[in-house]
């Protein structure tokens, strides 16, 4: 018992340092971050600032996503109003009808159904389509590759603007046969990726990203950054968080706001940061995230994520989890991340629990529960699950509420395994010999029947 107590004393001091350290730092960081926080914060999402980060279709889609997933009616209407305004600038009557239906007259006559606008747009679209068709036919009879490519591209743009994503994808892909330079190929790929992301078909995204990367000429940095983002999104969607994190971390600073029709640099920081936290080990986290100069620029855009990563690395789990808790409601409104928030959060929490216990011989579970802002019983359940999964090598003293590290006895384990393997071999070989004997019998029988 002496040895255990000796070991647990420094533990408690250490833990107290953890706890107080976290509390001390908390006000400092939160005041310094609140000022330059454009999007995500503990407060309700600032929709206007958020929408300002994006352009094109994704802006509308994101706004509508917020309207669908938000409980706050004020925010809902705000999002719908902005989506309405945005759609009016474009030509997508399909989305227009959807939004008007969602608004349902709640925003007054200015945001009611404008049938006249719809019909003019649709009439114009008909004319434009006919014009494009005749142009394309003319190009095709002349067999000028570049013109045909342009024709199909125009068609793609046209369909995309009108919301016919499937047709747009087909038209863009058709330009492939008429591409003459690698620049054209990259343009084709980027278009295909854009449409695929809108269609939520991420397998296409992956294949077109790799196609673009295979072009012989060196890509310019913004394009590389765009491709990285697209690949990261695809991995995220496929729940391959580690790969997603690596891709997002590779994104170069050249991205800027150039890819606002898909992703904002703030998103790169959030997605990359959370995925990295959930899937990387400590050294990887240090080398690839915290010491990564490129990525640091991105993190500056979302200081809360930066802070929580730093907190996690310096073992201030309480404040780290608090940041995560604050972020959660807004992340749930993110069109790409909402599906993965729970999993990522669980993984991060488990990682934190594992890392907390790692250096100690024994841990007082009451202190630990404080550090993680949970009850001892709840903590015991979580720890039990992790131990059963073999993620923590420890055993719980439920009576005294202490967690003891368990160091696997390599020697005993080896002996055990050797004996087990021996037994298995023994059994397998005997069964095999028996089967071969039976097969032989079968052979003999057949042979004797023949003669």
């Amino acid at each position: 018992m002496d040895g255990i107590e000796g070991a647990s004393n420094p533990t408690m001091e250490e833990m107290q340092a953890n706890g107080t350290g976290g509390v001390d730092e908390l006000p400092l960081t939160s005041t310094s971050t609140r000022k330059n926080r454009p999007i995500v914060s503990g407060e309700p999402l600032d929709i206007e600032a958020y929408a300002g980060l994006y352009t094109g279709r994704t802006k509308i889609k994101r706004l509508m996503f917020i309207a669908n997933h938000c409980d706050n009616p004020g925010m809902q209407l705000e999002a719908l109003r902005m989506a309405y305004d945005e759609i009016k600038k474009g030509e997508n009557t399909h989305l227009y009808r959807e939004v008007v239906q969602k608004i349902d007259g709640r925003l007054g006559p200015n945001y009611a159904m404008d049938a006249a606008w719809c019909s003019t747009i649709e009439r114009k679209a008909e004319l434009r389509k006919e014009k494009l068709e005749s142009e394309l036919n003319a190009y095709r009879t002349n067999l000028i590759k570049e013109s045909i490519r342009m024709g199909y591209n125009d068609f793609g743009d046209f369909y995309y603007a009108h919301g016919a994503l499937g047709d747009a994808f087909k038209s863009y892909v058709r330009t492939r046969d008429y591409c003459t330079t690698s620049k054209h190929i990259i343009q084709m790929c980027l278009n295909a990726i854009l449409v695929s992301i809108e269609m939520v078909q991420f397998s296409n995204v992956t294949s077109y990203v790799s196609k673009a990367e295979q072009t012989p000429e060196a890509l310019d940095p913004p394009t590389v950054a765009k491709l990285c983002c697209a690949a990261g999104l695809a991995h995220l969607e496929a729940k391959k968080y580690k790969l997603a994190a690596r891709k997002f971390l590779e994104v170069g600073p050249e991205l800027g706001n150039s890819y606002s029709e898909v992703i904002a640099p703030q998103d790169v920081a959030t997605y990359g940061g959370l995925c990295a936290l959930a899937s990387f080990d400590r050294t990887e986290l240090k080398n690839k995230v915290i010491d990564n100069i490129n990525f640091r620029d991105f993190l500056e855009l979302v200081p809360e994520v930066r802070e929580l990563i730093n907190d996690f690395y310096s073992s201030h789990y309480a404040s780290c989890l608090e940041y995560l808790g604050n972020l959660k409601s807004n992340l749930m409104l993110d069109i790409h991340l909402y599906d993965h928030v729970e999993t990522l959060y669980d993984q991060i929490r488990n990682k934190a629990l594992i890392q907390y216990t790692l250096p100690f011989v024994s841990v007082d579970m009451r202190m630990m529960a404080d550090a993680f802002k949970t009850s001892v019983v709840g903590l015991e359940k979580e720890l039990e699950a992790l131990i059963t999964d073999n993620q923590i090598q420890a055993r719980i003293d439920s009576h005294n509420k202490i967690l003891y590290a368990r160091h696997a006895d390599q020697r005993n384990a080896t002996f055990q395994r050797v004996l087990q393997t021996g037994n298995e071999f023994d059994q397998e070989v005997r069964a095999m010999l028996l089967r071969s004997s039976l097969l032989k019998y079968d052979y003999n029988l057949r042979a004797s029947r023949k003669h």
């Binding site: 071999f425 071969s436 039976l438």
Partner: protein
């Protein structure tokens, strides 16, 4: 009449040297039909023969005598006679006519069963096996009969002596199927689940061209024993199992597969309602007891899992986590498991706490070293045997004929390594 008397004289004369016995064997083969024709009158002649000297002749006479239907009274005297013959006969002589000997022994078993005294058959049958088999690796047709008698007389211990021997040579696949099936049941009776699993595994994975009832019943027990022993159902049959077994066995044992599925979910209440609902099916298969054992093994499995996670845990918590009704019940379970050596723990009755300990085995004792050494020796002989069989196989003309043919069909490039066709 004369011929029988002559035959008796010849038997008495020709039973000493090996060459004489061979010629006697030919004579007896020729006389077999006439012996059967006069089977009713043969009994008195048996007294003129000495089973310990004229074993071969005695065997032929005995076989002819017992061929007809038998009444209960007759059976009593026959059983005595055959038992005496089995204990005193000469192994070399009866091995010349193994079929006759097996037939006699099988009739002996039937008669013992007719008398409803299976215990009387156990010892003679074991002697019969020993006399008939050429080596301990040889599986005779009498093995399953012996195990059946053991099972019926609940004399499991006697059966274990046979089961401990490794069997490699098989005359009839049916013998092996029955041997392993009965052996599995005996091992289950002795709660020797590892062995039972191995034997049943042999039945299920044995090569077969059509599904047979023995394999189906064995598969049912295989699932249950696997649940008891490993705490999980056998996921899939291994690749070397015959395709017939892989395709059909699961469909034929649906209630058991579902039981295993509900076992893996880990909810005791679910599995108990399932067993209750399908009680009739399990009962008609005579597996209800085993099913109940499987269900109760779930508590053990859950308690064992707790030892991995906890150092101390109150009995109340154990009861909650393992879904037992009261701490008292939990205490009984834990106590039983400590007794059986399945977990290492101490119970503190004052606080109602259980303290789980590590496995005290340190692999340092002489016994352990000896055990490991003997395992190594056993595995070495086994590997040698494997190599021997492999060599034999690669010299087997039948095998080479087939392999050569396939070689020719698939590999044109390297047929110079192996001749395409062997005609020996």
């Amino acid at each position: 009449m004369n011929s029988v008397e002559g035959l008796v004289n010849q038997i008495q004369g020709l039973s000493t040297t090996a060459s004489d016995v061979l010629s006697l064997q030919n004579l007896l083969k020729q006389a077999d039909d006439s012996l059967h024709a006069e089977s009713t009158r043969l009994l008195p002649f048996l007294d003129q023969l000495d089973p310990s000297k004229h074993s071969l002749g005695y065997l032929y006479f005995l076989e002819a005598c017992t061929a007809g239907p038998v009444t209960k009274e007759q059976a009593g005297s026959y059983v005595l006679m055959i038992a005496r013959f089995i204990t005193s006969c000469i192994a070399e002589q009866i091995r010349l006519a193994p079929d006759k000997f097996i037939t006699v022994c099988k009739r002996f078993k039937d008669q013992v069963l007719l008398l409803e005294e299976p215990l009387r058959g156990v010892a003679p049958m074991l002697t019969a096996i020993r006399k008939l088999q050429s080596s301990s690796e040889h599986l005779t047709a009498l093995h399953p009969e012996f195990l059946l008698l053991c099972l019926l007389s609940r004399c499991y211990k006697a059966g274990l002596s046979i089961l401990e021997e490794d069997v490699f040579e098989v005359d009839q696949p049916r013998d092996l199927f029955l041997f392993c099936y009965y052996g599995g049941m005996i091992s289950i009776g002795k709660k020797w689940f590892r062995k039972a699993l191995e034997l049943l595994h042999n039945v299920v994975t044995a090569p077969m061209s059509t599904v047979n009832a023995i394999a189906v019943e064995a598969f049912k027990k295989y699932i249950l024993v696997s649940l008891i022993h490993h705490g999980q159902s056998p996921t899939n049959l291994p690749k070397y199992a015959s395709s017939v077994a892989q395709r059909n066995l699961k469909n034929l044992c649906q209630p058991y597969i579902e039981l295993a599925n509900s076992y893996s979910n880990g909810k005791i209440a679910d599995i108990e309602t399932y067993v209750e609902a399908n009680k009739d099916k399990f009962e008609s298969d005579n597996n209800l007891g085993l099913v109940k054992q499987a269900v109760s093994s779930m508590y053990k499995r859950n308690i064992q899992r707790l030892t991995q996670t906890y150092l101390t845990l109150s009995l109340q918590d154990i009861a909650n986590r393992v879904q037992l009704n009261s701490p008292k019940e939990a205490e009984m379970h834990v106590l039983q498991m400590i007794k059986d050596g399945e977990i290492y723990a101490t119970i503190n009755q004052k606080d109602g706490m259980v303290r789980f300990l590590e496995d005290p085995e340190q692999y340092k004792t002489c016994e352990m070293i000896e055990h490991i050494d003997s395992s190594i020796q056993r595995l070495m002989t086994l590997s040698k045997k494997l190599n021997g069989v492999d060599e034999l196989m690669s010299c087997d003309p039948l095998y080479l004929l087939k392999a050569g043919r396939e070689r020719q069909r698939f590999d044109f490039d390297d047929f110079d390594n192996v001749p395409q066709r062997f005609n020996i």
